[in-house]
Amino acid sequence: MKKLLPLMKKYLAYAILSPIFMILEVLGDIIVPYLMSKIVDIGIANQDIDYIIKVGLLMIGAALVAMILGVSSSFFGASAGYGFAAEVRQKVFEKIQGFSFANLDTFQVSSLITRLTNDCNTIGQVTMMSLRMAIRAPFMMIFALFMSFTINKSLARVFLISLPLLAIAIAAILSKARPLFFKLQSRVDRVNGVIQENLTNIRVVKSFNRQDFEEKKFKERNDGLMNVALKAISYIIFLMPIFNIIVYSTIIAVLWFGGKQIILGTMTGGELISFITYITQVLMSLIMISMYFMSLLRGSASVSRIVEVLDTESEIKEKINPITGIKDGTISFDNVSFIYPGSSECTLKNINFNIESGETLGIIGSTGSSKSTLVQLIPRLYDVKDGSVKVGGVDVKDYDIEFLRDKVAFVLQKNTLFSGTIRTNMKWGNEKATDEEIIEALKHAQAWEFVSAYDDGLDHIVEQSGDNYSGGQKQRLTIARALMKSPKVIILDDSTSAVDMTTDAKIQKAFKVDLPDVTTIIIAQRISSIQHADRIIVMHEGKIESMGSHYELMENSPIYMEIYESQQKGVIGE
């Protein structure tokens, strides 16, 4: 929490005013019963109507002022709470924007989403609660206790019994119920698990006639959930009756002993009545405090998840005075090794190769042969462990990162478009791009054909993650988007797998003919996608098995030949 508190700065005034106003409101609420006792004891006893009116109006005034203070306090509290949550959310989002690929791999997408949504919201709510309840309840209790002791010290001693009694009762009930609530959550997860599974697997369930089987499975878990819920309830249910017994027993004790004092003349009727009001206020505050602690537990989990994000540092650091110019698109790997953070074995070992500017390089190999890892080192998405990667003759570590990534365009294997239009997506590559430039890139990527068929052309809508386009169309659009950067190097990581072979060939041709100076690296599963590359690297278990042209590899690379053979008879085509 300490780490997050500085984010409150912008809303500090609210965060300070809210509790101050709250304390003042509580004072108002405490003073009203006291004034009432005066009306009864002095006004009635002296039959002084003027006094009654005067004090009565004072009470109403106090309550009105308290109301205004209370409303202001709430307003400030809400502003501070939501403001704080917004600041935290902004900070977390900005932090994530600075994350490296390695950071993104450690946190999963779904977990980052939860942190940005649920956890930030929870923090806002807990802040609001803290500013209100955490201040209100203890002060209410202290003030009311103070008033009770002022009115009648000997009578106020009942609190010495009832307060600890209530505290023990609450603690006992909650300590019994709390573990059950955790258990309840895991039972809920189990039930939801079956539902989720059946939603995604419904065709499997139906085709194997497993409806009854699944229902039985669900019933078991549903029963389990109910049993834990019933058990938790059986404890929690004691809270209110016990609270009421303690409150009313205290009232009865006060009535009995206070009444005797009235007869003796050491206490007045008004005092006794106001005392009863204070009893409720003191004991109710205790319940509020315990509720607050319950909610704090929920908040602390969120805080630690947020802090975890904020404490994460990207391991990719920019040099001072980085280079912002590039000579050409040559690439060289000099004795490169790479290891994923948290992994014990090197993913890439002793990689050495050079490519000339404008050359086309193909990379092929089975899954897990680290093809993607290899190319991700070029735009410095990960840092090498040993050796160096050079682009345009300069170590990638010496470049300004933003500049480097603008010059080395990367079309990711798991790619996505963003909701908006085709134009807004293309502008990701170049904010100031003209329509002509966009159309040219679309043409190179063989996407203009289908885009121009839309009535609204570039303004055609893109739904979330581009779900309204087919796999092949999406891939062509993402290639076009990368071309918008007018890069020196472009890397296609299995980016044409859903594109038919004719179109694939057209894309390759466009790259060769229209963008002769751009170094092109193509990772593919299909030999046909890389067969015409100037050179091809065959990756095997993190090493370069062989490198050469298609014909050279057909001569001397057993792995390449095996792949070629299997694809010859394996895939429709050729």
């Binding site: 959310r89 006639n209 009313y248 007869i263 009545i273 897990g368």
Partner: protein
């Protein structure tokens, strides 16, 4: 989708009907329900009475009366207190338990109903939406049933009881209280209507924000390679600020309610103290009466505040209940089949269709695996026909391959054979029997299906294979795995066949999942096999294992395959080339290649396959 859901989330369309239907669940527990309500009523009345006792007790002391009278009154009051505690314990416990049982029942009904819904339902409803109804809506309903029902009851009884007591003590002061309460109601209503608008606005902003976060986090790596971070941060800042403003507004009205109601109670308290004192001076009221009245101002305003606080939740819960009921009201998969399966009808392990005849007798038709499509027309929606005039004939053990570009209707055809969807026109015959006459359960138990996207279940590897036949022995499971070429990789898993799979088998590779799904289909030993070959890229070795496994599985069964691999197509007895829902070419590989038509160009790789 988010927006649509959030707009609908707070306003039930027909609250009265929904409420009635919800309460109808209590009918299973009539006795308990009545007992619970009576207990709660008793507790509330006890509270009113206990507070009423303040009046005589204090009067005895103030007027210097007999202390024994005071003791007697105090004992009576203690009796009422016991009543409160007892009533509250019994009442709350009963109602909370009832709520759990009802939610349990609703959940069970929902799940059972979901299992019976036709596949088309899941095409038109997103998993997210259904999941949210199952979790969020049920949860909300749970909370409301647990608390709201008894709280509303308590409020009603307390308010009525207190009013009766107050009228007995002092009609004039009661009038004052009534006026103040009406004022409170007006304020609550005003704030409620104000905050409802802001609340809705906040929900819209929240949905917008969540959608944005989801999209950006999923595409975060793309953001990085495009240096889009700064622009993303700016974009985010705008949305974040909108959310903050709308949230502050929405909640201010919400949290204002508490201090306003709390202090209005104090104003009422002051007014009662003042007016009460006048009346005492005029000798129409006692000091004890004031004490009781002051206590009443608190007991009467508390339940009102509580209920008004819960009103938003209550409405949201009702809207959720409506969505729950709308799932329960969905029509289930129809099955009017009168033809059933007879296992081992000739004592030689062969199965038969038991077909009822017009004369009341039955005819046993041996199951061989003949499948005939006769002029089949189909559309997912009536307006749009997906398949037109499909005719085909498969002999037992034959392999029929479907090829064609995306959207040509390949998957649709296979989904008709096991009646995931019902055809609009024509007929599909299985060993000469119209499949619409065959009991669905029996029909599907003679078929296995291997889908392109493999879905597995939480459980062990063996459990997942056994999903194809629940009573399969361990040996049979292993045999099936061997046939599917899955045995090798399973034996290399940490616990072999007992290795636990996480949700949907995410701890296996794509290829391994496919091998498992082949084993699962193999163990069912079906007459008919439906295969949707995967296109996803797996490495060469696994690819080889998969195709071998598939080939072994297909041996001797009538197989319909949506083919992507050349070898599968070449080996097929017949290839159906589909385009826009029609079979445009048919024949074996050599015949079709010779035609130089669509199939030929598919082979030349000029058409995009899905």
């Amino acid at each position: 989708m988010m927006d649509k859901k959030n707009k609908a989330a707070f306003k039930p369309k027909n609250p009265k009907m929904t409420l009635l239907r919800l309460f109808s669940y209590y009918r299973y527990y009539k006795g308990l329900f009545i007992f619970g309500i009576l207990s709660i009523i008793l507790a509330s009345l006890g509270e009113v009475a206990a507070n009423g006792m303040l009046s005589p007790i204090i009067d005895v002391f103030v007027s210097g009366g007999n202390i024994n009278d005071a003791l007697r009154f105090i004992l009576i009051m203690a009796g009422f207190v016991l009543l409160i505690a007892l009533g509250q314990y019994m009442g709350n416990r009963t109602m909370a338990r009832l709520a759990q049982k009802i939610i349990h029942k609703i959940r069970e009904e929902m799940f059972a109903h979901m299992e019976k819904l036709p596949v088309s339902y899941f095409d038109t409803h997103s998993h997210g939406e259904l999941m949210s109804t199952f979790t969020n809506d049920v949860d909300m309903l749970n909370q409301s049933l647990e608390q709201a029902v008894s709280q509303i009851l308590v409020s009603i009884v307390t308010v009525i009881g207190t009013f009766i007591m107050m009228i007995i003590i002092s009609p004039i002061l009661t009038l004052v209280v009534a006026i103040m309460l009406i004022l409170m109601f007006v304020i609550i209503k005003y704030i409620g209507s104000k905050s409802a608008n802001y609340f809705r606005n906040q929900q819209l902003r929240l949905a917008d924000m969540n959608g944005y976060i989801e999209e950006m986090m999923s595409g975060q790596k793309v953001v990085k390679v495009f240096n889009y971070e700064e622009r993303a941060i700016e974009d985010f800042r705008g949305r974040n600020d909108e959310l903050r403003k709308s949230s502050s507004k929405a909640s201010t009205f919400g949290v204002m309610l508490m201090p306003i109601m709390g202090n209005l109670t104090f104003i009422l308290y002051s007014v009662i103290a003042m007016l009460g004192s006048f009346l005492v001076i005029k000798n129409t009221l006692s000091v004890g009466n004031i004490a009781a009245f002051l206590q009443f101002t608190r007991t009467i305003s508390r339940p009102i505040t509580m209920v008004s606080n819960q009103l938003n939740t209550l409405f949201a819960a009702l809207a959720g209940a409506e969505r729950i009921f709308s799932i329960l009201d969905e029509e289930v998969e129809k099955d009017e089949g009168d033809v059933s399966l007879v296992i081992d009808c000739n004592g030689k392990g062969n199965h038969c269709w038991k077909v009822p005849k017009a004369d009341g007798n039955f005819e046993n038709i041996p199951i061989k695996g003949y499948v005939t499509f006769k002029d089949v027309d189909f559309g997912y929606v009536a307006e749009k026909q997906v398949l037109k005039n499909i005719n085909l004939y498969a002999k037992p053990g034959q392999k029929i391959a479907f090829v064609g570009s995306t959207g040509a209707g390949k998957t649709t055809i296979t989904n008709l054979i096991n009646r995931f969807y019902e055809i609009n026109d024509g007929a599909i015959l299985y060993d000469g029997v119209d499949i619409r006459r065959i009991n669905k359960f029996d029909l599907r138990s003679t078929m296995s299906i291997v889908l392109q996207d493999v879905h597995l279940f939480e459980g062990t590897v063996a459990d997942n294979i056994r999903y194809g036949r629940l009573d399969a022995s361990d040996e049979e499971v292993e045999e099936a795995a061997k046939l599917a070429n899955a045995d090798y990789f399973i034996k290399h898993l940490p616990q072999g066949y007992d290795t636990m799979l996480t949700v949907d088998g995410q701890n296996l590779s794509q290829g391994e999942r496919q091998l498992l799904s082949i084993a699962r289909a193999a163990i069912a030993d079906p007459e008919i096999l439906i295969l949707d070959e995967a296109t996803s890229s797996v490495d060469t070795r696994t690819e080889k294992l998969i195709s071998e496994g598939m080939d072994k599985l297909m041996e001797g069964r009538t197989t319909f395959v949506i083919a992507h691999r050349m070898s599968t197509v070449r080996d097929s007895n017949a290839i159906m080339v589909l385009e826009q829902g029609e079979i445009i070419e048919r024949g074996n590989h050599d015949e079709l290649m010779a035609q130089k038509g669509r199939y030929y160009s598919l082979n030349a790789g000029t058409i995009e396959l899905d």
